[in-house]
Amino acid sequence: MIDLIIFASLLALGYFFGRMAETRHYKSIIKREKALARIPVLATKIPDLSIKPQHTILVTGSVVISVDYFKRFLAGLRNIIGGRVKSYESLVDRARREAILRMKEQARVKGANLIFNVKLETSSISQGRGIGSVEVLAYGTAFID
């Protein structure tokens, strides 16, 4: 009985706080994406050779985000039926956008106006079983002139 109560309260806590955190995070992502929209991020490997930057520097951005208890439970259920696991989709989406934003922020501080050859790397920081949290690293070469 006690176990059931603990489980239910963890679910409720996860649902409320997780949802709150996600809404807040998305709001801040959208706001910062607008603010940093003037720095283009390109996945092009070989830059246009007519662009002659003064300096180039390596910029990186990374973040580790964890999913909440409620969503992990939902994903566990989803594992039985199969299909889209929406709760993890939003997790990796948030992590990628956040990592790109941090990389752009670093570029902005250094005075860059363009980032080339952006690579994204995702790795799961597992806590025993399955995905608990993901780390996303974004890196690229920023051109300063």
Binding site: F17, T56, L58, Y69, K119, Q127, G140
Partner: protein, 104 residues
């Protein structure tokens, strides 16, 4: 030392290729951070302790790669790649590698 993940730096010519240089760092998290992380696993959200830990160890990996490049007389490392792998439960390896070159 110029670090870049591009193969060519516009406006600069590569005079010599010196081969692959690499650096890695294996880190484990301490108990306090782990405790906070398991709390965050209920509520969801960013695990700041982990973000910092991984950033630090990645910086160290890059630093070691740079040292290696310096030792063989390079002045730039191009085409840098990062990779992460979990070696054991609670420890991660951060790895950086690239081509050491001499730019004119």
């Amino acid at each position: 030392m110029l670090l870049s993940n591009l193969e060519i730096i516009p406006g600069q010519r590569i005079t010599k290729h010196l081969g692959l240089v690499q650096g890695s760092s294996v880190r484990a998290k301490h108990v306090g951070r782990d405790l906070m992380a398991s709390l965050k696993n209920i509520f969801g959200g960013e695990l700041k302790g982990y973000t910092e830990l991984l950033q630090e160890s990645r910086a160290e990996a890059v630093d070691r790669m740079e040292q290696q490049a310096k030792a063989i007389g390079a002045n730039a490392v191009l085409n840098i790649r990062f990779s992460t792998s979990s070696v054991a439960a609670g420890a991660a390896e951060l790895f950086a590698y690239g081509t050491a070159v001499i730019l004119e």
